[in-house]
């Protein structure tokens, strides 16, 4: 049976923990709003980039175009034997199952691909993912540091270049990205997508018949592709990063909300225990007084 003083101290400590979790929840909530706004703001850019890419790559694969595609180093397709997985996690913890679900999804994909006989390399963003895969002695090819400190299109561009380099050197045949997709503040879904090479022609939404027209390209189409393809990858990465950031904040908000609730419950039960102990102490004292009085009478 803990003493009254012990219980009082515990209540105090739970209360101050609750203050922290409540503050973290508020901060995550405010930052989540901003992150969501950024996702919304990026959307038109992402959509337009995709449209533009479709225009330049060409609406339908014809004989001549197929050759352009085969020649261009960024559009070349090789049998998928060596893959690179980009795993996006957060730098900080206290956000529920956010990082562990990503790590698990990535690890599953890694094992699956290895079982298929592919050579898999990993690239990580975020401290949590780095630590997880380092502990497992995974083949981490590249670690991106400080991505979360200032997240913008330029950062995404750096990541994109770093990922595309081994592809261009012919060391990697496909690039996958594993990140948390933001559904709502309450729910996030880990997803694994193929980032590169681009989707098959058929899947790159074909334009409406009327929209197919002859553009004049300046400079040449190959030169445009050289810049446009990395730009598309850049935008895809930025989108994944923003989604992941929003998911992290959402996960943290939910986790901190339930932590605050748990703290409240704990305070309630500790208060009950405290009151009981206090009651018991009073009763005991009374008994002693009465006992003493009885003894005097006798």
């Amino acid at each position: 049976m803990p003493s009254l003083k012990d219980i009082r101290r515990r209540i105090g400590s739970v209360k101050s923990t609750q203050k922290i979790t409540r503050a973290m929840k508020m901060v995550a909530g405010a930052r989540l709003n901003r992150a969501q706004q950024r996702i919304t703001a990026l959307r038109p850019y992402a959509v337009k980039t995709h449209e533009v890419l479709v225009t330049v790559v060409g609406p339908a694969p014809e004989e001549g175009e197929a050759q352009v595609e085969a020649q261009h180093p960024l559009l070349v397709r090789r049998p998928e034997e060596r893959t690179l997985l980009l795993v996006i996690t957060s730098d900080r913890g206290l956000c529920g199952a956010f990082n562990s679900s990503i790590a698990k999804t990535a690890e599953r994909l890694w094992r699956e691909q290895e079982a298929e006989g592919k050579t898999v390399k990993l690239a990580t963003i975020g401290r949590k993912g780095r630590d997880y895969f380092r502990r497992r002695k995974a083949p981490v090819h590249h670690v991106f540091e400080g991505v979360w400190e200032r997240l913008d299109i330029e950062k995404a561009g750096q990541v994109a270049r770093e990922l595309l380099a081994p592809f261009l050197r012919g060391e990697v045949d496909a690039i996958y990205v594993v990140y948390n997709e933001f559904k709502s503040a309450m729910s996030q879904r880990p997803v694994a997508e193929r980032l590169f090479p681009l989707e098959d022609r058929g899947k790159v939404a074909p334009l409406a018949e009327g929209a197919q027209r002859e553009f004049s390209f300046e400079p040449s189409r190959e030169a445009l592709l050289e810049r446009l393809v990395p730009m598309y990858v850049e935008v895809s990465i930025l989108r994944a990063l923003l989604e992941s950031m929003a998911s992290e904040l959402g996960a943290r908000m939910t986790a901190m909300d339930s932590a605050t609730k748990n703290a409240s419950e704990m305070i309630a039960s500790l208060t009950l225990q405290y009151n009981r102990a206090r009651q018991a102490a009073i009763t005991k004292e009374l008994m002693e007084i009465i006992g003493g009085a009885e003894a005097l009478k006798a």
Binding site: R38, T40, A41, L42, P44, Y45, K48, T49, E51, V52, T55, V56, D152, I153, E154, R161, R213, E214, F215, S216, F217, E218, P219, S220, A223, L224, E226, R227, L228, M231, V235, L238
Partner: protein, 172 residues
């Protein structure tokens, strides 16, 4: 709507400009070019520079970074990483940026075709173009880059001359 075209400027931070304009001038990698309503479909890579457009007889100017423009059916969609209007511009900060970029470039001893160098030159150009928009252009820059490898014949020039050499010519 034959006498107007719709101009949209989209950046990763959102749609920054959406307006019906009578005329548009944009800085392509191969030089400035103008677009009037009824222009044939064209797809162009843009260099850092100033986009100007005319709305009801009034000329407006904005600065953009490298990007692309797609013109079709009297719609011009301009995609770029950077966008700045004259009103939003902070000349003091931009001058500081320019100074930092200049200093770093002067001390640069790495690979002049590497990514780091390209980024620095881009930052320098971006600062310079913003100052030009502000109405106080710095002296012409000796350095210039293009993210695109343009074959000389694309520019209608003789073989052997690169975009860099053209830009450097006025100085020498």
């Amino acid at each position: 709507m034959a006498d107007q075209l719709h101009l949209e400027i989209v950046t990763p931070e959102g749609l920054r400009l959406s307006e019906q304009v009578n005329e548009l001038t944009a800085p392509s990698v191969a030089g400035e070019f103008g677009v009037l309503p009824g222009h044939l479909p064209v797809f162009c890579a843009l260099a850092t520079g100033i986009v100007s457009y005319v709305v009801r007889g009034e000329r407006h100017r904005v600065a953009v970074g490298p990007g692309f423009v797609e013109v079709a059916d009297d719609h011009a969609v301009l995609l770029t990483d950077r966008f700045m209007t004259k009103d939003a511009l902070d000349p003091v900060r931009v001058r500081l940026d320019l100074k930092h970029a200049d200093e770093k470039l002067d001390r640069f001893d790495g690979d002049p075709s590497g990514q780091e160098y390209l980024e620095l030159v881009e930052a320098e150009q971006w600062a310079a173009i913003q100052l030009e928009l502000h109405g106080d252009p710095p002296p012409p820059l000796a350095r210039t880059i293009s993210r695109l490898h343009i074959a000389p014949h694309d520019l209608g020039l003789a073989e052997g001359i690169t975009a860099d050499e053209i830009a450097e010519e006025p100085k020498s």
